[in-house]
Amino acid sequence: MGNCLNTPTADDISLLRGSDSQDGSETANLGPPPPYQESVPIYHPSPNVSRTVTQLTEEEQIKIAKRLGLIQHLPTGVHDGCCKKTKECVICMGEFILGDRLRYLPCMHSFHKDCIDDWLMRSFTCPSCMEPVDAALLTTYETNN
């Protein structure tokens, strides 16, 4: 079987790190990237486990590929400043600012896209309510059919 994780493209990295903003101005101010953001992507087949692609077993590679696909199905949006929504991302504890890229989980909790994508690659649960994301996704599909 082909190894779909062997040659990470820009897309793969953007999925993991959410660094899909075209201008590099934001990251330029942050100084040198921390070790885990360097060019070789680090995957987390389970929480507390950090491996590069070459260290992953085939099973883990499949798990991560599936995970990347599932994350893509989760809706995203831009914070429009609507006050009835959540005001803060519980992951970075930063307030949502007009124009921030957000991602919404099926349990209705919302987070900064970069923050939640990083978390979902480690654990496919909502950090706020612990609801497993895939179980909720499957339920959504079933009710829609």
Partner: protein, 199 residues
């Protein structure tokens, strides 16, 4: 250290300082240096437990990948508890391992540790000796835990009989802490404890 980790700790720090539990002196967090990576926690032993009224100091290390990975926490204050190593202070608690979630905070960690003091889980032990004592002779466990809390965490309730036994061995020239560990491990049998220290 990643920006997000420092930014979060700064915000959390404010949260803990403002929290209701701090107002009641139940939990506390302090900076060790300016880096926000090394913190000092403090929890009060919960009521109706052998740890009641004791002050337990914790070493908290914030990993670079925080809050995606849990903080590393261990007890600096010596404690007799099935889920905490009586030697190193290492803690066995699910939320500090695989049950961690990014929405958890220093405040929830400290409150969870306080809850762990009130409700030990002997079937998932960190210290096998303490866990066995907890399951087999719960009275001796409670007294031993209270004795440790009064000696190491300034808890108000003393165990005079145990204090005397430690003093006896100390007067014979044994190191106080070693004597306490040996007596605690051997259900306060002085002869067995002495044999253990000398072997």
């Amino acid at each position: 250290m990643a920006n997000i980790a420092v930014a979060r700790i700064k915000r959390e720090f404010k949260e803990v300082v403002k929290s209701e539990e701090v107002a009641k002196c139940h939990i506390k967090v302090e900076l060790v240096d300016d880096s926000f990576t090394s913190l000092r926690g403090e929890i009060l032993g919960p009521p109706d437990t052998p740890y009641e009224g004791g002050t337990f100091i914790l070493d908290i290390r914030i990993p670079e990948t925080y809050p995606f990975n849990p903080p590393k926490v261990q007890f600096l204050t010596k404690i007799w508890h099935p889920n905490i190593s009586s030697v190193t202070g290492a803690i066995c608690l699910d939320i500090l391992k695989d049950q961690w979630a990014a929405a958890m905070t220093l405040r929830t960690v400290l409150l969870s540790l306080q809850a762990l003091l009130a409700a030990p889980e002997p079937d998932d032990p960190q210290d096998a000796v303490v866990a066995r004592q907890y399951k087999e002779t719960s009275d001796i466990f409670s007294q031993t835990a209270r004795h440790w809390a009064s000696n190491y965490a300034s808890a108000p309730h003393r165990e005079p009989v145990m204090d005397d036994k430690v003093a006896q061995l100390k007067n014979m020239g044994f190191d106080e802490h070693k004597a306490r560990v040996a007596l605690s491990t051997h259900n306060w049998d002085i002869e067995q404890a002495m044999e253990n220290i000398l072997s």
